[in-house]
């Protein structure tokens, strides 16, 4: 779904993880939350940080750092990005939430080769004024996060 060329105006919700600058389609973002107490979910994969209470609805929190292979964060996460992922919303735990960036016909750089964990989840890289934005493939990110333990390790 991210394969289309960057033609016309598109909006991205940006965030930071381990110093990297990432974005996902704004259309997939339901809301942005300040950190909430996260209930740990034992017996799950390391990519699942736990559960939060979003106005009475139980929402799964994905540890985006772990999924991207950036290691566990030392400091408490600063933001939660609630995205529409399949039938249930999912909250992405990120180091910091950035601005909404709109792009107009920005030439997309070639998709990074899937050399590492991170690379395989980046749909494409956009050259914005002054910085590079790695656009994540949300569906692949979530599939990876929910994959059973063995797969996540291999």
């Amino acid at each position: 779904m991210n394969a289309q060329a960057a033609v016309g105006t598109q909006a991205w919700c940006t965030f930071r993880i381990a110093g990297g600058h990432y974005g996902i389609e704004l259309a997939r973002v339901q809301e942005v939350l300040r950190p909430l107490p996260v209930t740990r979910l034992p017996l799950s994969t390391p990519a699942i940080a736990g559960l939060i209470n979003l106005r009475g609805r139980i929402v799964t929190v994905v540890d985006t750092r772990t999924v991207l292979g950036a290691g566990r964060s030392g400091s408490p996460a600063a933001g939660l990005l609630v995205v529409r992922g399949g039938e249930c919303p999912v909250a992405l735990l990120v180091d910091a939430i950035g601005d909404v960036r709109r792009t107009e016909s920005v030439p997309a750089l070639a998709a990074e080769p899937a050399a590492d964990e991170r690379g395989s989840l980046v749909a494409r890289t956009l050259a914005l004024p002054g910085e590079l934005l790695a656009v994540l493939d949300l569906d692949r990110l979530l599939t990876r996060a929910f994959a059973p333990l063995e797969e996540a390790r291999s």
Partner: protein, 711 residues
């Protein structure tokens, strides 16, 4: 043809299924009493309604079938045709065909506007049969009573007009909101308490408003829960037909009696009950009730009776399915369990009758000597058990040889809100449905969880077990499973004895906090696989707590079904190792200095807790008031750390053992009651009056004899 509105179609399907169930019941009623007129009229109405809607929706095939059935019924109603076996069979076949077509319509719905709604099929044989039954030369009406005139008015039932059809999802949404309201109320009440005693008029008004909100919320919760309730008879609407069909196939005569149809249950539970009930009914007819000839030989009426009863009992619903058949032979069950490798001969011999009956719920168990197409393939009872336990219920059986078997099912009233224990482990709070909890044991420091088995010499290996009275319980240590946040998990302080199927096991947890009603909320289905949680709930402070699933936990811990028989037999194996000495129940208490002491339970009238303030002085003796009587108290076994005469200044409650000796009753104050344990007597009887050292669970314990220590 115009595309059919999905909503109209869905309503039609729901109505038609209800109509067919009614039709089945009417036909079977006619079978019992062919002269009855009301069932004919009612059956006619059911088919007529289906036919009418069919033509409106353009369902030609269905319309033809319903029409043919209706014509035959019209002939019966007009008295032109006497009721006969052939007519009954033809009409039952009609109901089946209509069901088949409805199922086809259901599965084709949403396939696109151009696809035909009805499945293809050839109904000629059925139509011919109906025509033959209805059109043969009219004979003299065999009925004694005058037939109902064909002009019987068919007014819509007055009941229907008072009902509104509501989408289930909307009800679920309302229930969710009420759950939110309950949590918001909890939050408000808690905040009010925390903000201290309200003073001044505005604060008093706030407290009053909060109280009213509390009251209204509780009532609303109750009412909304009731809107989700359905009479349990919805789960057994199909049973009369099933009984008829299965009995005919087995060549038996069986009558179904139902009692308590109006008992109400959450609709999700009614749904969950359908399949297990079907299994049990098939089973009862196929295996339980004997052939008519065999029944006559044993002095019973030819017709067997299957009695289904439902009633509410203490916050849960109990269902009983009783047959008056041959009963289950405990000996046969033993033989079968051995033959199928579910247990060995030695263990089977030691099982009590009750434990033997529980074996029939194990997977792969069947006592049927031949496999019929109805049952006897070793599936059914274990599936029924699994389905009932999945919704928090339980099932058991009791049986008397020659008199019949009764299956007992217990279900909670509702699934949405359930009483649970909250517990703490490694910094997180969990909830556990109380239905699973049999017993709560406080673990004293010296009541360790032991390990048995494991490789020789490998320290720390082996399965954790706990000695509960004379039983060896397998233990699941929550701390080990759920991993501590940092470092070691703290030692468990409580052990919950849980029921999961026929198996019991202990769950060792850091701390049990409280009991509260929780609102069950679903979690992402992607997380459920391989997990140990039944869902989640929101606590009063807004945090999420996971709901533990007793079955999944047992399974993950390796207390799997394969080991089921072995586990059931384990306590017996242990019992057998112990010399058959008389067991003496002892009350185990602990003094402030940690000294353990025990007293024979038979020597005590009761154990009562008293607040410190309840201790008074009378004639310089410490006393408490009990049942309007003044009870002198003393420190148990002269415990010097308990200064009873100095009165108790710290606010707490004290367990007082009431001993009814001569010259009167006396209360003995202890610091803490630990447990009740069984003691094998240890040989000689100790001298009265003096503390006697015994070894209890590998610990030296003072056995105190009270006789002769009156005040």
């Amino acid at each position: 043809m115009e595309p059919v509105d999905d909503d109209i179609l869905r309503d039609f399907l729901v109505d038609s299924h209800e109509g067919l169930d009614r039709l089945d019941q009417d036909l079977l009623a006619l079978d019992r009493d062919p002269a009855a007129t009301e069932p004919v009229a009612s059956a006619f109405r059911s088919l007529h309604t289906i036919k009418g809607t069919c033509s409106f929706l353009g369902l030609r095939r269905l319309e033809r079938v319903a029409h043919a059935g209706e014509s035959l019924l019209a002939a019966v109603r007009a008295g032109r045709r006497p009721w006969s076996r052939e007519i009954a069979d033809a009409l039952l076949a009609t109901a089946d065909t209509v069901r088949t077509i409805l199922a086809g319509i259901e599965s084709s719905a949403g396939r696109g506007p151009d696809a035909p709604l009805e499945p293809e099929g050839d109904d000629r044989a059925l139509l011919d049969e109906l025509a033959v039954c209805g059109a043969s030369v009219p004979r003299e009406p065999a009925r004694a009573t005058p037939a109902t005139p064909a002009t019987t008015p068919m007014p819509p039932s007055a009941l229907q007009q008072q009902h509104v059809r509501v989408d289930v999802h909307r009800l679920d949404a309302v229930m969710d909101l009420v759950g939110e309201l309950v949590l918001a109320r909890n939050h408000l009440l808690r905040s009010l308490v925390r903000s201290g005693a309200p003073s001044g008029a505005p604060a008093a008004g706030l407290a009053e408003a909060a109280q009213r909100l509390d009251h209204v919320t509780a009532r609303l919760q109750d009412e909304v829960m009731r809107t989700r309730m359905q009479p349990v008879s919805a789960a057994w609407a199909r049973l009369p037909r099933l009984v008829h069909d299965v009995a005919s196939a087995c060549g038996k005569r069986v009558r179904l009696e139902t009692l308590g149809d109006r008992t109400e249950l959450d609709r999700a539970l009614v749904e969950a009950l359908k399949d297990p009930l079907t299994h049990l009914v098939r089973n009862a007819i196929d295996h339980g009730i004997e052939e008519p000839s065999a029944r006559v030989r044993s002095g019973k009426p030819e017709e067997g009776v299957l009695r289904l009863t439902a009633f509410e009992e203490g916050g849960s619903v109990r269902l009983e399915l009783a047959d008056d058949g041959a009963g289950m032979s405990v000996e046969r069950i033993r033989e079968q369990a051995i033959a199928r490798g579910l247990t060995d001969a030695e263990r089977a011999r030691r099982l009590t009758d009750e434990e033997c009956l529980a074996l029939v719920f194990l997977p792969g168990f069947s006592t049927a000597t031949e496999v019929t197409n109805i049952s006897g393939r070793g599936v059914g009872l274990d599936a029924a058990r699994a389905a009932i336990e999945a919704v928090g219920g339980s099932i058991g059986a009791r049986s008397r040889a020659g008199r019949g078997t009764t299956f007992e099912i217990r279900l909670p009233l509702t699934l949405a809100i359930l009483p649970a224990l909250t517990l703490e482990q490694s910094g997180e709070t969990y909830a556990l449905p109380q239905a699973n909890v049999l017993e709560l044991v406080r673990l004293a420091e010296d009541q360790a969880i032991e390990r048995v088995g494991g490789a020789a010499g490998a320290a720390g290996s082996g399965r954790p077990v706990f000695r509960l009275r004379d039983e060896l319980l397998p233990v699941v240590e929550l701390g080990a499973w759920f991993g501590a946040h940092e470092g070691e998990a703290p030692a468990p302080r409580h052990l919950l004895v849980l029921a999961a199927g026929t198996r019991r096991y202990g769950l060792a947890v850091e701390r049990v906090c409280d009991t509260e009603d929780i609102v069950v909320k679903p979690i992402d289905p992607r997380l459920r696989e391989g997990g140990a949680f039944a869902g989640a709930t929101v606590l009063g402070d807004g945090r999420v707590a996971l709901i533990l699933d007793a079955h999944a936990l047992a399974q993950r811990a390796g207390l799997t079904r394969d080991n089921d028989a072995q586990r059931t037999a384990e306590p017996q194996a242990r019992r057998a190792n112990v010399a058959p000495a008389p067991r003496i129940p002892l009350l185990l208490v602990r003094s402030r200095r940690g000294v353990r002491a025990a007293v024979r339970l038979e020597e005590l009238d009761r154990v009562v807790e008293f607040e410190s303030a309840a201790f008074e002085r009378l004639d310089d003796h410490p006393v408490v008031r009990l049942d309007g009587e003044v009870l002198p108290v003393a420190a148990f076994a002269g415990d010097p750390s308990l200064d009873v005469s100095g009165a108790f200044s710290e606010p707490r409650s004290w367990p007082v053992l009431v001993h009814g000796g001569t010259p009167g009753r006396v209360g003995l104050v202890v610091d803490q009651v630990v447990d009740i344990v069984d003691w094998d007597g240890g040989g000689a009887r100790p001298p009265a009056g003096a503390p006697h050292r015994i070894v209890l669970d590998d610990h030296v314990t003072d056995l105190v004899t009270l006789a002769g220590t009156g005040a």
